[in-house]
């Protein structure tokens, strides 16, 4: 039996980052959706749920932490989609802020292929 592929929504305003993550995640068997900011991500999630969010922090219109905080307050299963937060910042205060907003894990950019795949699988409950 073939497993249904898990879908990842990559939320990052940097186009090159999205292309990079897409190529890595698709190669690892995931389906990928993209959003350029937190508002677009919220809009996409209304139309189709996903299995994992990969969310950057610094984005226009709505930053990643505001997006995550908003999402976690919503009703229904959409509020508990696992979220991997990525950021250029590596201070403890930044980890704490991400956790407080509802991140399940935090990776410092630039994100490496192996890390992204490993944590995507882990957070989606996919065997490696």
């Amino acid at each position: 039996m073939t497993a249904v592929p898990k879908t990842v929504l990559v939320v990052d305003d940097a186009g090159l980052v999205r292309v990079y993550y897409r190529s890595i995640l698709e190669e690892a068997g995931f389906r990928v959706e993209e959003a350029l900011n937190g508002l677009e991500a919220l809009e996409i999630l209304l139309a189709r749920p996903v299995d994992l969010l990969v969310v950057d922090i610094n984005m226009p219109q709505m930053d990643g932490l505001t997006f995550l905080g908003t999402l976690r307050e919503k009703e229904g299963s959409i509020a508990s989609i696992p979220a991997l937060v990525t950021s250029t910042e590596s201070a403890d205060a930044d980890f704490a802020a991400a956790r407080a907003a509802g991140a399940n894990y935090y990776l410092v950019k630039p994100v490496e292929r192996e890390q992204l795949v490993e944590f995507a699988r882990m957070l989606c409950g996919v065997r490696s």
Partner: protein, 281 residues
């Protein structure tokens, strides 16, 4: 006709990203064919020899190329019952929510904020009269506005040609229009008199504020032409013109996500719509 190669993945992606950033329009994979065709049309028109060459023109907005490109998707030519999915959403969902705390006889205010020659506000009026079972319970005020006073004059006159009426069944044309001459119809007087037309520049809070607050605003294919600051300002003006809980409908490919975080996004069966938060007190 020379061969027209398809856009590569990367070219399509670059174009969509750029247009989203500049205009707020979202072009998905589903629209690829239309986007490609438009690129070919514009390449032929501008003499660009390659996608990269055309993209450079677009990036620099040479001779208003962004507007030229986008025009094909906004359909300058307006007609009755265009974007019927939003009219359906209006009667299937939006009106129900808006009247949930209104009494019989209360006003419902609807604003067509880029009404051009009037097809949109008149369409809303006819649609409500024909499709909303509760239309007689409330006083419905429909306001049409545009920055262009010439089109407002035409809207007030309410005469239209065959193309504008092409989506309307004959029964509705007979009911709401008077045939003036061969292929020229006029909205019947009572309906014409019940829609008001007024000039408004959406970027001027002094002009928008005075029209009060609305239950539903239609603002289709206008914000895409503004620069970033003007777009933000227009969104704030429109927000102020909405009642708490009121709705705003944008054009089919437009998204508020590039424009402003002021509104909540709501997904209904027929349409995605934006809402000013809060309930009426």
């Amino acid at each position: 006709m020379t061969e027209r190669p398809a856009l590569t993945e990367d070219e399509f992606r670059r174009l969509c990203e750029y247009l989203y950033r500049r205009t707020g329009m979202v072009f998905t994979e589903a629209k690829r064919y239309y986007v490609e065709r438009r690129v070919w049309e514009r390449m032929a028109e501008t003499g660009a020899a390659s996608f990269a060459g055309y993209f450079a023109l677009l990036r620099t907005d040479t001779r208003d190329e962004i507007q030229q490109f986008v025009n094909a998707f906004t359909v300058n030519e307006t007609y009755f019952y265009r974007e019927e999915y939003q009219l359906k959403c209006l009667t299937n969902d939006l009106m129900t929510e808006r009247v949930s705390d209104k009494q019989a006889g209360d006003p419902i205010r609807i604003w067509s904020a880029a009404c051009s020659t009037g097809e949109e506000p008149y369409s809303i009026a006819i649609w409500l009269l024909e499709n909303w079972s509760r239309v007689d319970e409330y006083f419905i005020e429909i306001v049409g506005s545009d920055i262009d006073t010439r089109v407002l004059e035409l809207a007030r006159a309410g005469t239209f040609g065959k193309r504008a009426l092409m989506r309307l069944p004959a029964e509705l044309i007979g009911k709401y229009f008077q045939e003036l001459s061969a292929e020229r119809w006029q909205i019947e007087a009572q309906l014409r008199d019940s829609v008001s037309f007024t000039p408004v520049n959406l970027v001027e809070p002094g002009q928008t504020r005075q029209h009060g607050q609305f239950d539903v605003i239609f603002c289709r294919n206008v914000l895409i032409y503004f620069d970033d600051t003007s777009r933000r300002l227009a969104a704030e003006n429109l927000y102020d013109n909405l009642l708490p809980g009121g709705f705003i409908c944008l054009g089919h490919s437009e998204s508020m996500s590039r424009i402003s975080p002021l509104f909540d996004v709501r997904r209904f069966a027929d349409a995605i719509v934006y809402q000013r938060p809060g309930t009426r007190t």
